[in-house]
């Protein structure tokens, strides 16, 4: 009896894993495809400003978002195209922001990764690293005030951002308030060109957890299953009163800091190490190995992703760009307190 239950649980687990793995893979693939498109548009001079991609970080990013629910808060950072999609951001929000469509969520006011829909729980990052962490803590504080229970906030940061005062103050505040906050650090070995040896001196970033009085988790960021598993555990712990959770994922950024950067500074040994593996390729191999999908189904997924991306880009290209003449040059919500008149043109 006991054994039978165990077996049936295991098979339920497996089919659950399969489903989650496949869902995750689709988002990762879609993210990869849209990012490749963005890179191509950038090379073609179709995007003004920077293009910042998450190649190699899709597993971690998607796992974070998939552990969240509607009503949760998510603050993605530079390399979270996959997580954004999984959290519900549309491809159009992405293409419109990059290409400056007036119909996008940022309406041409801000670009590339600086987008979000805070009303829907998706924070819109400012550039200053670490700055979104206390903001998410504040959303959770607000929910406590309002008696909303069971929601979680996740914040994604890089290894470099751990050196900011905002990281420290934000995590400490969340710990003092025992907020349901999950802080996911993608240790991709570099902050722009700066290796971790010039960024921190602890052996492992997860060693920081104890000093804040929060739970720490480590995960191999190239391994989708491990990411799904650890993020699920961390988010569940936060959701059930465990306080802040610090998740440290190890991986390697497989692209430049931005598309202007050839990442020539990356240590070739790192590229060849397990950290340098491509999480999307590994996930694909796993899918085939487990017989969770077929090559032709994969091909179809790829085609489908491509179609979606092309459609989003085509739609965006037809849309109006921001118009300075109809632009509302008022930074305040309280319109009559705006001072625009004192900037003669």
């Amino acid at each position: 009896m006991v054994q039978a239950t165990a077996v049936s649980t295991a098979s339920a687990d497996t089919s659950d894993l399969k489903a989650r793995f496949l869902t995750a893979f689709r988002w990762m693939l879609l993210a990869r495809v849209v990012e490749e498109k963005l890179a191509a548009l950038y090379r073609g001079g179709k995007i003004t400003g920077g293009v910042f991609l998450g190649k190699g970080q899709e597993a971690l990013s998607v796992a974070t978002a998939m552990a969240l629910r509607k009503g949760d808060v998510f603050a993605p950072l530079i390399r979270d195209q996959a997580g954004r999609l999984a959290f519900g951001e549309t491809l159009l929000d992405c293409t419109r922001t990059y290409m400056g469509s007036r119909l996008g969520p940022m309406r041409g006011r801000d670009g590339n990764v600086h987008r979000g829909r805070p009303k829907e729980g998706l924070m819109a990052m400012i550039s200053h690293l670490g700055a979104m962490l206390p903001v998410v803590a504040g959303t959770l504080l607000a929910r406590r005030f309002r008696g909303v229970e069971g929601t979680v906030g996740a914040v994604n940061l890089g290894d470099g951002a751990t050196s900011t005062g905002a990281f420290h103050e934000g995590l400490n505040l969340a710990a003092v308030e025992k907020l349901p906050l999950v802080l996911v650090v993608a240790n991709n070995q570099y902050a722009y060109s700066t290796p971790t040896s010039r960024q921190f001196a602890c052996e492992d970033l997860v060693d920081k957890a104890v000093g804040y009085g929060v739970a720490g988790h480590s995960v191999d960021g190239t391994n989708l299953e491990a990411c799904l598993d650890v993020l699920d555990r961390a988010v569940t712990a936060a959701r059930t009163g465990g306080g802040p959770q610090l998740v440290i994922a190890s991986l390697l950024r497989l692209v430049g800091h931005g598309e202007h950067d050839d990442a020539g500074y990356v240590d070739p040994a790192l590229r060849k190490s397990p950290l340098g593996a491509d999480c999307l390729e590994l996930a694909e191999q796993r899918l085939l190995h487990e017989n969770w999908t077929t090559s032709s189904a994969l091909h179809e997924m790829q085609q489908d992703a491509q179609r979606q991306v092309e459609e989003a880009v085509a739609t965006t290209l037809r849309e109006p760009l921001p118009d300075p003449d109809t632009e509302d040059w008022c930074p305040l919500a309280t319109r009559h307190l705006c001072e625009g008149g004192y900037s003669p043109t």
């Binding site: 959303t139 505040l173 307190l337």
Partner: protein, 320 residues
């Protein structure tokens, strides 16, 4: 009698009572009632809504922005205005841009105990209003009276934008009124604090009282000095200023902040560009000296403008 400080406390009590979205966050604001006692008793009266914060100005303000996104209306107390430099980034880059970027309002009020007092020294005396006024997206209030301390703070909490509320420490205990007001001048409107016809002093915050004292002194010599209290320095009520200069033809702008830039520069620039023909004499300005705010009262008393030095400037203006 109610003091300027008590008015600030009462406004916060009323905000807490009237609106469940309001909470107060800052160092020692809870049981202790704040470094200046501006939140005295509130933690007890409104349990769970007046919280002590760690020494983390960046996170304090960042968290308030997050709470505002979720519909709350936080009141943040900085222990001294000077320490807002540490939360500067969240104020000018996150709070001030939120609505413009995302169309989500950011109704947070940041109380800055501002300005000089004797013996406070370079890091407990600063007047930072100009910094915040320079950045787009913030409303900057500088109440100079007990009544304004009360009604403008209520307004600050009600406004859907981040408000930098510069309350002057020098006025905390000394300034008293009979009772709290039930009506208020609208936000963004200046007030003619004293009517006159010979010259206009445009000022705000603690310098209002030095200016009024100076006007009183000159009145004994027959001069009628108009004194304008800006109340809010961003937006800055240029219309009221121009109308006054139209009547008097002479302008002296007085501020306690440092001389480069700031309110006096902005006031003079607006009058010079928009009301040039109204001026019968070159406009003048008076600010603090261009050094950090000194600790010792002997130095501090000379560092900032006073009724006496304002009078010197004014006599020059009147004879120009």
């Amino acid at each position: 009698m109610i003091t300027y400080l008590e008015a600030i406390r009462e406004a916060q009590a009323k905000a807490l009572a009237d609106d469940p979205r309001v909470y107060i966050y800052g160092q020692d604001v809870g049981q202790f009632g704040g470094a200046f006692k501006a939140t005295k008793g509130l933690a007890k009266e409104y349990p769970g809504r007046v919280l002590d914060a760690p020494i983390s100005e960046d996170a304090i303000i960042g968290s308030a922005i997050g709470a505002a996104i979720e519909g709350m209306r936080p009141i943040i107390e900085m222990q001294f205005a000077d320490f807002s430099t540490v939360g500067f980034n969240q104020i000018v880059n996150q709070a001030a841009t939120l609505h413009w970027r995302t169309q989500i309002p950011c109704p947070i009020t940041i109380r800055l105990p501002s300005g000089g007092t004797a013996g406070a020294g370079p890091f407990h005396s600063q007047s930072m209003e100009a910094l915040y006024a320079h950045y787009p997206g913030l409303v900057v209030m500088t109440p100079a009276t007990v009544e304004d301390a009360y009604s403008m703070l209520l307004e600050a909490v009600a406004i859907d934008d981040p408000v930098i509320f510069c309350e002057h420490k020098y006025l905390y205990y000394h300034l008293k009124a009979e009772k709290l007001p039930t009506e208020a001048v609208p936000t963004g409107k200046a007030r003619i604090a004293r009517q006159g016809r010979d010259a206009t002093i445009v000022t705000y915050s603690a310098m209002l009282h030095e200016s009024l004292a100076c006007a009183e002194e000159l009145a004994s010599e027959g001069w009628e000095i108009e004194v304008i209290d800006l109340r809010t320095i961003k937006p800055l009520d240029t219309d009221t200023v121009l109308a006054s200069v139209a009547r008097t033809g002479r302008l002296l702008a007085v501020g306690e902040a440092w001389p480069w830039g700031g309110v006096t520069a902005e006031v003079i620039a607006r009058v010079a560009t928009e009301g040039f023909a109204l001026l019968d004499a070159p406009p003048m300005r008076l600010n603090a000296k261009d050094t950090p705010v000194p600790f010792h009262p002997n130095l501090w008393g000379t560092h900032r403008p006073t009724a006496k030095t304002i009078a010197v400037a004014l006599r020059r203006l009147l004879s120009a």
